[in-house]
Symmetry: C2
Subunit: 212 residues, 2 copies
Amino acid sequence: MSEPTFSDAFRAQLHELFAWRRDVRRFRTDPLPEGVLEKLLEQAALSPSVGLSQPWRFVIVDDPKRRAAVIENFKVCNAEALNSYGGEQAALYAKLKLAGLEEAPCHLAVFADRATQTGHGLGRRTMPEMAEYSAVAAICTLWLAARARGIGMGWVSILDPLPIAALLDVPGDWRFVGYFCLGIPQNESDRPELEQAGWEQRRPISDFVLRR
Amino acid sequence: MSEPTFSDAFRAQLHELFAWRRDVRRFRTDPLPEGVLEKLLEQAALSPSVGLSQPWRFVIVDDPKRRAAVIENFKVCNAEALNSYGGEQAALYAKLKLAGLEEAPCHLAVFADRATQTGHGLGRRTMPEMAEYSAVAAICTLWLAARARGIGMGWVSILDPLPIAALLDVPGDWRFVGYFCLGIPQNESDRPELEQAGWEQRRPISDFVLRR
């Protein structure tokens, strides 16, 4: 196969995709179109992984009891988080909608298998956390692929990793990386919801670059 | 601004971009076009970050002495890695080209600032590692944006994180996430170099998906 070339028009649309990929917390309850999740997961597997170890592990969570247990864990963790703020910040935090677990038609947990022999350990000797980073790479590919199909995704990190791994009954060497809601967004925006709500603002990239 | 819509043609090209984004280790020595790195970093800042904390920290490494020290660290770590293999696997490992540090015109180190107050800690209470995951998200955006412009990127993880942070003289709360080479690839492929070299193969996604 010959290499693809990408046009200015494609790059402009890719930029739009980056800009309009949001962390979605407000979903319609319509199910995802049949077969789409499987296609998204196939695309996620095109992501880079350390030593080609492909340590990403995806758990599609359909069981209502397990979903309810995840939601319960989120509520406990979120109440603890609220308690850590005071005054106006606590009032603002309490108003934020930080997950779409109740409405989203699709729940997906992602783990990294630290014990995988695939890749024969290459690139993980001094940085074993590369397994998790590879799983994050797959998540990011999936996120963009989803948005390009009009599907929103939200990352829920207000969870306690060990209980989540236990209630999903996954192997002990799998590290919990994130829990994701997928579905059709209620609305689209190129502004993060936390910015719209006045919680935080985006900073210029120059704030984050050093030269050495 | 009204939301963009993405066509089947765009999605097909996006799939090509995912498929042809390689971990590049063989670079031409030509410099990157003027201003391109800055544009790529701006696009990276469109990535998701936990609580809008934007914990990604980019260090553009131009100083020849610091570059030489990074290369020396890589050589030591790579020799130790080689020693951990035996027989045919060691012989194969010794033949792999695992970094393009000598030739690549651009060196970029990425860190995550665990101490940032931006985002007010939202989403990081039970999972402080979300700071690093957000930095990885920025890396993945940058990687795709680079490839869409014909620029290759390679992730070097065969490095010792603490000495790298020290020799780049970054704040103590910054965690080293990865070191990257950028430049024009000597060749393009949709097959990972480790697969071409017979080190490891890509597995079907069905190997990595559970239902619960």
